[in-house]
């Protein structure tokens, strides 16, 4: 090891520019991850002391600034958006991978539109949701309008991850199923989809992360009412919208810190979960191919 290091140092002595680049690469990497660590540490250290019981009281008042209704709304919003987007996402991925032929022109159109969807900024989604769901369809600012807007937003993500997961199922699985006399539909639902579940799940979890963190698409579709909604046609703010309101009003900065902690912890947990599921996927695949 030390010999190797010495050799390296000697080679750097002869090439000062290389040494400089090595230092720059190291510095940039340290900067990237130091920023992340600092951000997380700063919010946790400043926020945790402000977490108190009345942040979780069941009713929102301007005094307690409770985040429980917002947390509740976030869960409803996530559930609804997933119920809408996941079937569409999975079915269209099935069509792309299992049904459409390789040279199909229509596939290119779908690819192009999915790529376009994934590049559209969330505020544009929010504006579209407001124009279409809230005004044209007459739903008003509601959880439902917000959920549909978010469903369109996460559709490309779910499609892409499902596509990857389906593609990674070996063709021998399909051939075996056909060989045993199963039809196409049976093969897809009984053989291909079950083996693709971990990949699809990882994508769905990522989508949950995006829904939980979304603000701009929700302000003008789901609105900013800080109460638990009576039904899905009434307005309600999610945790991220709640956090934005607190921070921009500037009246309850300590509560904003505490809310940021909750939001950050939720996102970190979701990320870890997704990573864990994805790891399961690669392991499962290894077994399948052997």
């Amino acid at each position: 090891m030390s010999k190797k290091m010495k050799q390296k140092l000697i080679s750097y002595k002869n090439a000062p520019l290389s040494a400089l680049m090595a230092v720059l690469v190291l510095l940039a990497t340290v900067a990237t991850f130091a920023v992340l660590l600092f951000l997380i540490a700063y919010i946790l250290i400043n926020g945790i002391p402000h977490i108190s019981l009345d942040l979780f009281s069941p009713n929102y008042t301007t005094d307690n600034v409770s985040l429980l209704p917002a947390l509740f709304n976030t869960i409803i919003m996530t559930g609804l958006s997933l119920v809408i987007a996941v079937p569409f996402g999975i079915f269209s991925a099935i069509f792309l991978v299992e049904y459409a032929g390789r040279g199909n022109r229509f596939i290119n159109v779908i690819r192009l539109t999915t790529e376009t969807l994934s590049g559209i900024p969330s505020i544009v989604y929010g504006l579209f949701g407001m124009l279409f769901f809230v005004i044209t369809l007459g739903w008003g600012m509601s959880i439902l309008a917000g959920a549909f807007t978010l469903a369109i937003m996460i559709l490309p993500l779910i499609m892409r991850t499902t596509e990857e997961a389906l593609k990674s199922v070996p063709d021998s699985f399909r051939e075996g199923s056909f060989g045993l006399g199963a039809g196409k539909l049976r093969t897809v639902f009984r053989i291909v989809l079950p083996s693709a579940v971990p990949g699809i799940l990882a994508g769905v979890i990522l989508a949950i992360g995006r829904i939980v963190g979304e603000t701009a698409a929700l302000i003008y579709t789901a609105g900013t009412v800080a109460e638990v909604p009576k039904n899905i046609m009434s307005s309600g703010r999610t945790l991220a919208v709640h956090m934005y309101n607190l921070a921009s009003e500037g009246l309850h900065m300590d509560k904003a810190y505490a809310t940021a902690v909750i939001l950050l912890v939720v996102v970190i947990l979701i990320n870890m979960l997704s990573g864990w599921v994805a790891k399961k996927l690669t392991k499962g695949n290894g077994n399948g191919e052997n």
Partner: protein, 295 residues
Amino acid sequence: MKAWNEKIMRGVFFIAACTSVLAVALICAFLFANGIPAMKEIGFLKFLNGTTWRPNNDIYGIFPMILGSIYVTAGAIIIGVPIGILTSVFMAKYCPKKIYPVLKGATELLAGIPSVVYGFFGLVVLVPIVRQIGRSLKEADILKSAGNGSSILTASLLLGMMILPTIIGVTESAIRAVPAHYYEGALALGATHERSIFRVVLPAAKSGVVAGVVLGVGRAIGETMAVIMVAGNQPRMPQGIFKGVRTMTANIVIEMGYAAGLHREALIATAVVLFVFILIINFCVALLNRRSQHE
């Protein structure tokens, strides 16, 4: 009976696949149908090139906001791209196998942190720092006025952070896609590790790297909540990096809540302009991806 089932489900899958096409069509239709008439009423040139935004007097010029978006994005690129590319070089070519999963997870987390949390971090950490820098520069007689910390510089710093995961992810996979013998060949010719990477591998991964940067531009120009919280949002021509600025995205969110009539349509027209920017960027990314696949 079975054949019917197969046919019906095939139809269902097909219809599901059409939703993304339908969604894009609807988004385009609704934005353009609501935005274009307003642009016509205000006058295309007046709208795009006008330097005053005064909804109370029915003056709608979004040039300051277009410039604001461009300046802030450019700042983010200047800060984010070098750091992002160098970090991805580390991830692909230097990183010990043991710590790689940790770093990979960290970049994914960086991408997963909500923009409100970034914005809040910018508000409580970056804004005071930039305010302090502005004050000391003013005391040193370099700046005429210090500004209050919400500025182009602050927004650029924050966006630079936020686009890092995009750039790192795309660049890293582009570097990894370069065949190993490129790197080995360069080493065999006596080049150092760094020389091989920066003179041989990176140029070979060029279109992938550029695609990553363009994708980062898309992220930065479309970012809304984080920018609103740190950029100051004054609807006037940019006056220096220590002064506040308003982006197109901020313009929409801030005024949509109370806008009515032509004002509201002008805001939708702002979204149309933003949307066209994004479409151009998307088109560039698609083109670059195709090129890197051909290579």
